[in-house]
Symmetry: C2
């Protein structure tokens, strides 16, 4: 699958088959996140790769729209310094998330982002240090509806090109 | 080029040929940014696509390591609400940047991120509204050193896999 195709076809997948990902798939996804660039190569991240169903279910309750984590084959918690320290932290986390999700899509693995609204409970659940934080986790899994991988790109859902692109000046 | 190859081979390119990108290439890059997902599909971005050499040169002086913008064939300024409004704004901008840079790489177009440290001067230069902000711009262009596109991935420069990946818990 080429990059442009992955970008055009990728859609959020929230319902997954009850089937484990292979170790190779999991490593490819995590290595894609590790490869992402970051401000001054600071790599402001750790990734907790969660396959334990109980943990995923508990994590799914720590965000308002995080329910899809409960059915994921793999959850990846992106652990970072506090987002308020500098704006590049979440910018870099966003790049790593995009890399992981595009790499997954190429493997036929769907994904969806979840915002975690209970950072302290998340820390208790996953045991990361006090100076690190969890704001975003990603669900991964084979789509329950396999046709999602090959369905034509959704035509709507994005602002028009001419509405958001400006040429040389605003 | 498949996604995994793009992710593995992509490197920062700071020196560009003095050659324009084609309109198709520019549109493919910008459309990749437009396709990126965002929190609640808020699409918290406008992109100013800058090809005027004078503007690029001025913009290159508004950040400490932004000099590469002066020689870019295309600069893309990512205009967003204020980063402090919510952490998802820069996370989403990071996803859009990653999409644009990976889409460019597949076309043989290199890129590099620049942090803009003079937001008010940037606003004056590009004319965007008071409630929007510019923190990150991206240089794009054909690499001055063409071999950069096909060079083997750099082995170093990233923390070890086992150092940043945790399994099920920290």
């Amino acid at each position: 699958m080429d990059v442009n195709e992955a970008i055009r076809f990728k859609r959020a997948v929230r319902e997954f088959k009850n089937e484990k990902l292979t170790d190779d798939e999991i490593r490819t996804i995590l290595k894609a996140g590790r490869r992402a660039q970051s401000s001054k190569n600071s790599q402001p991240w750790h990734f907790i790769a969660i396959q334990e169903h109980g943990k995923l279910e508990q994590l799914s309750k720590l965000g308002t729209f995080a329910g899809h984590l409960a059915g994921a084959a793999l959850g990846v918690a992106i652990i970072t310094p506090h987002p308020d320290e500098r704006f590049s932290i979440m910018f870099d986390a966003g790049q790593a998330a995009a890399y992981m999700q595009l790499a997954a899509w190429e493997l036929g693995v769907g994904s969806c982002l979840a915002t975690i609204y209970e950072p302290d409970q998340a820390r208790q659940l996953l045991g990361f240090p006090e100076d690190l934080h969890l704001r975003i986790a990603i669900s991964f899994g084979y789509p329950a509806d396999e046709s999602q991988i090959t369905q034509a790109p959704q035509g709507n859902g994005r602002m028009a090109f001419n509405e958001i692109i400006h040429w040389d000046t605003w």
